[in-house]
Symmetry: C2
Subunit: 710 residues, 2 copies
């Protein structure tokens, strides 16, 4: 029954999505073909209505799907989180002072896992790709974050309890109200229910004004006090501070590490021998002063980011090493599949990047009217694809389940206006699909913004082997003539003239030459003006160019390290009965690469000779740089295994004689017998990845003891 209704929902949703997408394509086509603003707007309005319907249906579908097994998910998560907190993978920060929402410490095993993940990231990306790693401060002056747009736009909408001043996220209150009504009000008329669902589905798109009027309409008050609420207003999510003692130099704790790289572009480009492409990377803390953090370890106020900014010539986004990853096959969720509510699917990376010829009409729609190439692949370019492949390898090497990892393409309306393409690596967890890595082609946006604000040209030069003859569009408005006619609007008209694209400029030129005047739409004025011939000269000139000077495009893979680690914990966790069968034991099946401790050393029983051997082995492990723990307590060996299984320690050495010891593998519980002299080297071999456990099994005699694993 539940299944049928989910299937029918899917069908309806697919249909609605298809029409919304068609409408969206129509708008892009209208814009590209120069339709009038009013025409565009009316089409836009009907698209908006369609999108609301799609959102309502898709949220409904999602909630239906997650109801199936939702209870299990919560119980599973509770099991993981309990194990993580008991074994100090995490500690709520400043716990003895009752903590601070959204701040967590990594305790010893968590810290070791984090350090392993970052070490592997550095090896897998920085070392292998010869990236230029930098390390910039967290404290950032306002001017930098003004240029990047964070000062003005990095906000959430907030309301305040008018009497106590307590703050709430406006969308949370509205969502909670609707959810509560839908769940608890059994007499709710169908029409009203539909309305609440619609509100919940469109929460992200509501303006401050729209949100405020909804809160008023529903009579929503402060949940704790029932006091009236303020109007919603934007709250900037950056932690503000002041640099130096004067109070006159505002600064913020950086919300991302990327800006530190962008402002250093010039030096890094020089360091790279003034050659493109190259990538810079940074690992570091980032800060977001969330209004009211929810979702436990996934939404925190301070977290570690690992970001790459790969700078390329916008005309050549090929990647020399793409062939190394082109055979990889993994789950992708391209735009088209999402539109049609189809499931995500396994694709070969090479196929997804391959450019296929596309009819011009479709092409114009796909690219939003910019005719950049006659061939388009699902993934915009090789470099983007290369990083998707490398990210897939990174995640799966850590132990992320490849069946619960997908790359979801951003819908056109999801992306920033300047982005050429964007794919999120999402990991399925008990909270649903979680964005853990964003891989975006941000075009030239960031470097241009900092060039403009700082006055320093963040550009690349490419010398041509031979000078090239190029035809350049030259638009020269006459300030005097324009000023005489348009007075105060002079500047806006001149700016609009100067930014004309070639097609439009040639049309204006033709009209002016034919008729002596032309109607010209100035978008900053919101109206058309009449141009006459003396106001502007338009021509094409041939020039010899010796080099091209351009702002590089940047492709940015940005890794939320804390989220990846949390998902890794969920994917690694399982329980199994103890030998007596009366208890469930927790296991984290970390690969040796990320395991917080690689190996434990236990004397089987408390006996001085065994302890001596254990200490000898411990020294050999230290020399081999294998992190390990020696446990000489008298606890039963079964309990000691259970403890280390819950820490995810892959191997345990048990000393039961003076010459040889056993090595136990965590998941299979298989044990082999190895001589004392060899054991450190064996463990090193298998933790470094030079041998597999299967190799070890074939090389050493299996040990089976009834007493070993009770």
């Amino acid at each position: 029954m539940a299944e049928t209704s989910i299937d029918s929902l899917k069908a309806v949703l697919a249909q609605k999505r298809a029409s919304a997408e068609a409408q969206g394509q129509a708008i892009r086509f209208l814009k590209a073909s120069g339709a009038s603003p009013s025409e565009v707007e009316s089409t836009l309005n009907s698209l908006k209505a369609m999108k609301v319907e799609v959102e309502v249906l898709s949220k409904e579908l999602n909630s239906r799907v997650s109801e199936n097994g939702g209870g299990n998910r919560d119980a599973f998560r509770q099991g993981v989180v309990n194990a993580l907190e008991r074994r100090l993978f995490y500690i709520p920060s400043f716990k003895i002072y009752r903590g601070v929402a959204g701040l967590y410490d990594y305790g010893p095993p968590g810290c070791a896992v984090k350090s392993n993940v970052l070490g592997f990231w550095r090896e897998h990306f920085v070392l292998v790709e010869n990236m230029l790693e930098v390390d910039c401060p967290c404290v950032t002056p306002e001017v930098v974050l003004k240029a990047s747009g964070h000062v003005d736009k990095f906000t959430d909408l907030m309301v305040k309890d008018e009497k106590t001043g307590t703050c709430y996220r406006a969308d949370h209150l509205l969502k909670d109200f609707c959810k509560d009504k839908l769940e608890k009000d059994l007499t709710l008329p169908e029409e009203k229910a539909m309305e609440y669902k619609r509100v919940m589905a469109t929460l992200d798109d509501l303006s401050a004004k729209e949100l405020g009027s909804k809160l008023k309409e529903y009579g929503i008050v402060a949940p704790d006090t029932k006091n009236p609420l303020s109007d919603p207003y934007p709250f900037n999510l950056m932690f503000a501070t002041s640099i130096g003692p004067s109070g006159l130099s505002p600064g913020y704790m950086r919300p991302e590490t990327a800006q530190g790289i962008f402002v250093n572009f010039k030096d890094l480009y020089y360091y790279n021998g003034n050659k493109l492409p190259f990538a810079a990377a940074q690992i570091g803390q980032a800060f977001r002063n969330e209004i009211s953090p929810r979702q436990g370890l996934l939404r925190v106020r301070e977290f570690t980011l690992a970001e790459i900014e790969h700078f390329v010539d916008p005309d050549d986004k090929s990647h020399p090493k793409f062939k190394d990853v082109s055979n990889l096959e993994f789950f992708m969720y391209p735009r088209d599949e999402q539109k049609e509510a189809k499931p995500f699917k396994k694709l070969q990376l090479g196929d997804a990047v391959k450019k296929v010829p596309v009819p011009l009409m479709v092409l114009l729609i796909r690219t939003g009217g910019v005719q950049s190439s006659k061939c388009v692949g699902i993934i915009n370019n090789e470099t983007l694809g290369y990083f998707m492949g490398r990210t897939y390898l990174f995640m799966t090497s850590l132990g992320i389940d490849k069946e619960r990892l997908r790359f979801r393409q951003h819908m056109a309306n999801e992306m920033a206006h300047y982005a050429a393409d964007c794919w999120d690596a999402e990991i399925e967890s008990s909270y649903g699909w979680i964005e853990c890595v964003g891989i975006a082609d941000r075009s030239a946006y960031d470097l241009r913004a900092h060039t403009e604000k700082s006055g320093v040209q963040l550009v690349a030069q490419e010398k041509f082997a031979e000078p090239r003859e190029v035809e350049k569009l030259v638009i020269t408005p006459s300030k005097k003539e324009v000023g005489l006619v348009f007075k105060g609007n002079q500047k806006k008209v001149i700016e609009a003239l100067e930014v004309m694209k070639e097609a439009e400029a040639m049309e204006v030129k033709a009209n002016l030459e034919a008729k002596g005047e032309v109607e010209f739409f100035v978008c900053t004025l919101g109206q058309s003006v009449t141009l006459t011939k003396n106001m502007v000269s338009i021509s094409k000139e041939k020039k010899k160019e010796h080099q091209k000077v351009f702002t590089p495009s940047v492709i940015e893979p940005s890794f939320g390290i804390g989220r990846i680690i949390y998902c890794l914990f969920e994917h690694s966790f399982y329980t199994r009965p103890n030998k007596a069968g009366d208890e469930q034991c927790n296991v984290f099946k970390f690969p040796p690469l990320v395991a917080p401790i690689k190996c434990t050393v236990f004397p089987l029983i408390q006996k001085p000779e065994y302890e001596e051997v254990a200490k000898l082995i411990s020294k050999a492990l230290t020399r081999a740089r294998i992190s390990h723990k020696i446990d000489i307590t008298g606890t039963s060996i079964g309990k000691r295994y259970a403890r280390t299984d819950e820490l995810g320690v892959p191997f345990a050495i048990t000393v039961d004689s003076s010459n040889s010891v056993t090595v136990r593998e965590r998941d299979s519980k298989d044990q082999v017998r190895v001589s004392v002299d060899e054991v450190a080297a064996v463990v090193k071999d298998v933790t470094d990845g030079d041998s597999t456990w299967a190799d070890i099994l074939s090389r050493y005699p299996l040990h089976s003891s009834s007493s070993s694993d009770e």
Copy 2:
């Protein structure tokens, strides 16, 4: 001439120091023997005067010493800093926006060095000692830093230009004024000169009021505008922010990482099986909002700390692995040598920790009256000594010159009142001796402060094998009787009674029993009161104790990573002429452990076969996880060597045939010939430290080519 006057200065200084120290000892003895406050104070005043004289002389001596070769030092530093900035070891942060004082980025090679230093720190301390590493947020709520004392005391004195609001460090202005007068005013009377010197020597000890009146007296105004200045007031050096949106939860960016460990003591102790000793460690960013940063890379507003908190039973500070370091010999500068203006000296660690019997009188003086043991070593305890030894090994493995590294003991008046002993690892640089690591026995101060503020007991329990009979002092004041007589002072009298030490309490008891009343000094009232017998009962009771509950002592080695790295750069830098002899080339002689890149790969000439071989070797190096750089530009081989020498790359592989290549060592410029198949393994061997360059020289044929290093 200069030498003679330095020597005579040294002799006078030694004499003055000895008398000041004797005076200080007298005060401690007076306090310990219960002298009256007025008696103590008058002795204190004369000590203060002596200390001023000592400081004046010692600063004079220091400046004389640094004048010898001061110019060379500046030129040397300029050479190092130029190389560091040109090769992007450092970049002034946000340079395109004209930067922010006291903030620097690590560029690619600097970042690689930092990452190597931190990796080695983690291996050398965390892994080898099985420390519990944690990772806490930088954002810290006020309550934590209130408890630690930072909110109230982490300040510098500041003055403001009364018209423009520009801020200055008050002591900087006073110092600059005096220095200027001394250097430029040739008619300065001797008496006035002495006064300025005295002021400069005592800058650190001046109160806000004293500083203010000096500024007024000298007519010091704002240097840029000549406007009048405000009175000095304390400016807190923490970056302030606000947690959450309400503006009601003040927070700060942590000024050190240690507090994150202290607040987690309870969980960490549990994690360690409720056993002492254990050490926790943390690497992370710390922040200090300096009023006006000077001293370039040594005094910055954001920096990386690596801190260890080793928790021990205060009654047993022995260390099981002390014997591993006890034979080390290195420079120490004990308190006694400093007092007597003797030079620092090489001591064997074992000898410095060895406890020697000390006459009781001297002992009481040394320990400030606490009779903790009848034997005292130069270094207070084995654990402190162990960390000094491990720190020495850490620093010298990085490449810090052991002849320019010393451990300086804090003078009694330099240490916090709660500290038992403290040694700074100081490195000699062009700025003089720089404190880079502080190794302090902080006793129970921090855990007690957080216990008090949070109400959570941060204590350890030790169960006795057998219950022990102990005699306990029991002081029971009668609230009623005390209140009747002392009214509003009731609380202060009762508190004073309760904190009496055993000797004092038994004396009070004896007097009360003999005379029925006793004069009792209440320090919080600043006066004595008359106690009668009914006001307090004092007794000794025998109890059986099954365990002891105590606040652990903490021994804290705290590493300023940025300072160590900067000093390492200075110690690694040298210049040598190029082959033509017409130019000086820069070299950083980093050991492979810290070198930003381990190896370069060059085709000798531009030739496709050689490039192919170079790429093959590059792949093999990547597989072996050796960071390297391949340079296929046509630049002359000599220039390419010079470039990599300036980056401190220890080895260069030059491809001059298809079968074998040469490997060049940076400092000797020796080259050996190695087959293409073997070369990656050879480089790995020597960079991992498994072989020395001498081993390689003996294993492979020397290559001598006239063309190689021009």
